[in-house]
């Protein structure tokens, strides 16, 4: 079942409004650990410590500062910050439509399901139009005092809203300072052949989160007082640059 309704509003474009309800689409379950004090197994909590007094500071003595230069801050109070919150609105404002596949996955944040609200007419027609034209809508909206950028899309059955990261949040590849290293056509050819050989269909159901189960097993063993064999992580030996072609050839032979 989809998650509960978290927001209600209207998709707005041209002179059209489509009423929708927003639902979460993802549910992650993971094992929760706590941090304990090893001496007495007391559960620890995080505490803000004053760097000057070296003492814990209660909430009411904490303020927010923006560092303008080393060690110098502008203090901002919660009321002032509250005033920067975007005006609340019920509109998912579609600014333009683009062909699907134009958005690099690096921009994609989380997906919400949109459920039709009140009536189906506009909703159904929009699903059909997006599907047939193979497009998605770039939109903005305000939810929980934050402004969002997103893509309005369909999977053929329902409408979805995929939140997008803002362009200035994406770190550029340039800043990684990668070197250009020449490769021979032969290396590239064998490398490409190898990848094509190893290509299959994306079948996400094949991949289970086995780790969670293994963690449960580990916890169970420890609870029963069994001894745990500690295995050291192995590091693979890197392929030396002058052995690359050889490794590629051997790989291709193995899969062919």
């Amino acid at each position: 079942m989809a998650g509960g309704t978290i927001w209600k509003g209207y998709i707005h474009f041209g002179d059209t409004n489509v009423p929708v309800k927003l639902h979460t689409a993802i549910k992650e379950e993971r094992i929760q650990f706590h941090l304990l004090h090893s001496r007495d197994h007391v559960k620890l909590r995080q505490q803000m410590i004053c760097a000057y007094e070296k003492k814990a500071v209660p909430d009411e003595e904490q303020v927010k500062g923006f560092e303008v230069e080393d060690g110098k801050y502008i203090i901002v109070n919660p009321e002032e910050l509250g005033q920067t919150a975007p005006e609340s609105s019920r509109l998912i404002d579609v600014h333009e439509f683009i062909k699907t596949e134009q958005i690099d996955p690096i921009f994609l944040d989380r997906v919400y399901y949109l459920e039709p609200d009140i009536h189906l007419k506009g909703y159904n027609a929009l699903v059909g139009a997006l599907m047939e034209m193979d497009v998605e809508g770039i939109c903005t909206w305000t939810m929980k005092k934050r402004s969002y950028l997103g893509a309005l899309q369909t999977n053929g059955k329902i409408l979805r809203l995929n939140t997008l990261r803002y362009a200035d949040e994406v770190i550029s590849v340039k800043s990684l300072g990668l070197q250009k290293i020449p490769l021979s056509e032969k290396e590239l050819k064998i490398g490409s052949d190898l990848i094509n050989q190893l290509t299959g269909f994306f079948q996400p159901q094949k991949f289970e989160n086995e780790h969670q189960k293994k963690l449960h097993t580990l916890i169970g063993k420890k609870a029963r007082g069994e001894k745990i064999a500690v295995l050291l992580p192995r590091r693979l030996k890197p392929t030396a640059p002058d052995k690359l072609l050889q490794a590629l050839k051997a790989s291709l032979k193995k899969v062919a």
Binding site: A2, G14, H23, K27, Q32, F33, H34, H37, R39, D40, L44, R45, Q47, I49, Y52, E53, V57, E61, Q62, K64, G65, F66, I74, V76, Q83, T84, P86, E101, I103, K121, G122, N124, A129, M133, S147, A167, I171, S172, S175, G177, L178, L183, G191, I195, N196, T199, F202, P204, F207, E208, N209, E210, H211, K222, P233, R234, P238, T239, L244, L252
Partner: protein, 281 residues
């Protein structure tokens, strides 16, 4: 790393600190496909566009640091004395060491082994979770370059699983602008079904659909994310500029740096592994 950034628990919107953080490794190990092994580091690919506030003490304007604290002893706990516990019943914990945790999947905690390649356009966008970059470490530059280039040419992405902290991630590694981008993916069991909210009945009305198509046609464009900015962030920056003109900034007292024996770093490491890659929002 500053450890009192207020975005951790308040959800406050913060500002990015330039690209200095970008090269900080989150993890180091090897990425492999078939018989080729490439030493790499995992680094951030996105920096939440949040204006970075620092929490200060209102009495002396000294910055605050987040530390683990024992409520029983009313004292800060040294990182060497912190251990992970799983609660089996209220107040009763099973202790798990880092070594035991790594033993769960020893082969996957240092290696991202690409088990197969896929066409990236087969991946429904609902699977994408969080992006990172991989950068080569010493000796891996050439093989890295090769993997970038052949995945670009073939337009394929590699699928792998690897373990970081307490979680095992399903990831897709793809070529992006000359680098390897690593996207963590959701497991299919984490994706909620949408049948219960799908529209029931109600045919698509042809007239309404063609009306909508006409509007869409007029609104077609190319994706250019630079056009859109976070309005809230702009307002916060304006507020800060205004305040900077009106008021002299407060000054924090001088403190000697914390000794390098590591409480800060280890704590950060522990916190990282707890939070690790929750790594977002």
């Amino acid at each position: 790393m500053g450890n009192s950034r207020s975005d951790i628990d308040t959800g406050e919107v913060l500002f990015k600190q330039g690209n200095k953080m970008a090269v900080q490794g989150i993890w180091s190990g090897t990425i492999s496909f078939s018989l080729v092994a490439i030493p790499v580091q995992l680094v951030k690919a996105v920096e939440p566009g949040r204006v970075s506030f620092r929490m200060l003490h209102s009495k002396d304007y000294s910055p605050l640091a987040r530390r683990m604290f024992c409520p029983e002893e009313d004292a800060i706990v040294h990182p060497d004395e912190i251990i992970r516990g799983y609660e089996i019943r209220p107040g009763k914990y099973i202790l798990i060491t880092n070594e035991e945790l790594e033993s769960v999947s020893p082969q996957r905690s240092r290696t991202i082994e690409i088990v197969e390649f896929i066409n990236m356009n087969e991946v429904d966008s609902i699977y994408y979770d969080h992006p990172y970059y991989l950068v080569p470490t010493k000796g891996g530059e050439k093989a890295y370059r090769l993997l970038v280039e052949v995945m670009r040419r073939t337009n394929k992405a590699g699928l792998a699983k690897f373990v970081l902290g307490e979680r095992e991630y399903l990831v897709a590694v793809k070529s992006m602008g000359g680098a390897l981008a690593l996207m963590t993916l959701h497991y299919s069991e984490e994706i909620l079904p949408d049948e219960d909210i799908s529209p029931r009945g109600g045919e698509i009305e042809a007239e309404e659909k063609s009306r909508i198509k006409k509007i869409i046609k007029k609104m077609m464009a190319d994706f250019s994310p630079e056009k859109y900015a976070d309005e809230r962030r702009k307002k916060i920056m304006d507020l800060l500029k205004k305040k900077a003109k009106e008021k002299v900034p407060v000054e924090a007292p001088q403190v000697e740096e914390e000794e390098g024996e590591g409480p800060a770093d280890l704590i950060a490491a522990l916190k990282e592994s707890m939070r690790k890659v929750k790594m977002k929002r």
